[in-house]
């Protein structure tokens, strides 16, 4: 395995050097690394790049896209008022908030539950494609995009927490006025799987296709 042929010269990987993901120590991998190699300081397994990053990210992304459909079509919450049960999906919940006068709340829930998961899925897809197509442009912007989607991802859990708290509070003895519905399962799964997808993507791959003369420092 001659790593220096596959990576541009300024990448640490071109010299068979790996950064520890836990403690940040830079180590030289043994030239005939057929076995697992560990960080000499903190014993974390060392890799030049995350293993099977692209395949794993694609698999998780496709699963998340698939689950995104029931997450938005199935009701997440059934609320009963005056004997009438109303089933709300994420979107109809937002519409309900908007029409009952809580515009600010509606915007917050809309961004956290609908915009964030979709933007995260789409931008991660673009990043994976950019690596596969070996795009060389806008590397810094793509790096910033990855940093951003990593930061905002968890906020889509908002609706799950709201449902949990409402369900716990709105019941009187045996009478339940609010119940969580199956959409919540799909929705939670989308959040978790998207988190794993972002974790399995290795942003260093975006820089592996650049030539030395492309770079400006």
């Amino acid at each position: 395995m001659n790593a220096s042929l596959t990576y541009p010269a300024r990448q640490a990987a071109s010299q068979n050097l790996a950064t520890c993901s836990t403690c940040g120590l830079l180590s030289r991998l043994p030239p005939n690394a057929s076995t697992r190699v560990f960080c000499p300081r903190c014993t974390t397994p060392l890799h030049l790049r995350k293993p099977n990053s692209i395949a794993r990210t694609w698999a998780l992304l496709l699963t998340a896209y698939l689950l995104y459909i029931p997450a938005n079509l199935l009701p997440v919450m059934d609320s009963t008022s005056l004997g009438i049960t109303q089933k709300d999906t994420i979107l109809s919940g937002v519409v309900y908030l908007w029409t009952t006068g809580d515009q600010l709340l509606a915007v917050i829930v809309f961004i956290a539950s609908i915009v964030v998961p979709l933007v995260k899925l789409l931008s991660l897809t673009i990043l994976v494609i950019s690596v596969q197509r070996r795009w060389r442009w806008q590397s810094v912007q793509r790096a910033k995009l990855f940093w951003l989607l990593d930061l905002v991802g968890k906020w889509s859990m908002l609706d799950i927490y709201v449902a949990t708290l409402l369900v716990a509070l709105v019941h009187f003895g045996t009478i339940k006025l609010a119940e969580a519905d199956n959409g919540a399962i799909a929705f939670g799964a989308v959040v978790v799987i998207t988190l794993f997808a972002a974790k399995s993507f290795d942003p260093r791959l975006m820089w592996d296709s650049s030539e030395p003369d492309d770079e400006t420092v």
């Binding site: 903190c42 810094v140 949990t164 708290l165 409402l166 509070l169």
Partner: protein
């Protein structure tokens, strides 16, 4: 060492950016300074003021406030003489009883177990380092602290509680409980812990406690 295990050879004075893998010289930082990657602007190293004492103090305070957040009700609802108070665990239990074990488990993990695991492990590691004890599996435990960080969602839970308060306010009298204030304190402390953590100093203390076991090597040409 077992035959299927090999350890890398540490390279001194050089680091690679964790986000773009650009090889660059390690810079010595003064307290308050930080270094960034020359190519992609990712923060490479930070030296916050306060050394290890500040993150340690915040971690211990967060352990206390998080314990309070889990024992006292997060919010209460009053309707026609009925009063219902809900702690986090009670809310998770209700979700479980409604036939939603997966969702209940997700909430339990992200709002109770993950923060508890992060804070507890961090407190153990920081106290040991502060007083110069060598923790046998320090590397593995520190890795746990880092890997679990994305699953700690206290700040999202806080926003969720505020949204719930407003929503419930339409049908009944909803009031925040002591647990919610403690949760807010925990959220702030968790952010302060991350901000004040000097990882460079942490690993130096670790090596001092253990004796430097690293093999010294000349920087790569």
């Amino acid at each position: 060492m077992q035959e299927n295990m090999q350890s890398g050879a540490p390279v001194n004075h050089l680091i690679a950016c964790p986000d773009c893998d650009l090889l660059q010289h390690e810079t010595m930082l003064a307290p308050g300074e930080q270094s960034r990657c020359a190519r992609c602007d990712t923060v490479l190293g930070r030296r916050p003021y306060g050394g290890i004492d500040r993150p340690l103090a915040c971690t211990l305070a967060a352990v206390v406030s998080f314990a309070i957040a889990n024992t006292y009700p997060v919010m209460a609802l009053q309707l026609q003489g009925h009063r219902i108070e809900a702690t986090l665990i009670f809310a998770v239990e209700k979700m479980y009883q409604q036939g939603m074990p997966a969702v209940a488990l997700l909430v339990l993990f992200t709002s109770v177990l993950a923060p508890a695991l992060r804070l507890g492990t961090l407190a153990y590691l920081l106290i040991s380092l502060r007083f110069g004890y060598a923790v046998p599996s320090f590397g593995r435990l520190f890795r746990l602290v880092q890997e679990i960080a994305p699953w700690v969602m206290i700040e999202v839970l806080m926003l969720g509680a505020l949204v719930s308060l407003v929503k419930l306010g339409h049908v009944a009298t909803a009031t925040p409980g002591l647990g919610l204030w403690a949760l807010a304190a925990t959220m702030w402390l968790l952010a302060t812990i991350s901000d004040s953590m000097d990882e460079c100093d942490l690993w130096q203390r670790y090596e001092a406690a253990f004796g430097d076991t690293r093999v010294r090597m000349e920087p790569a040409r």
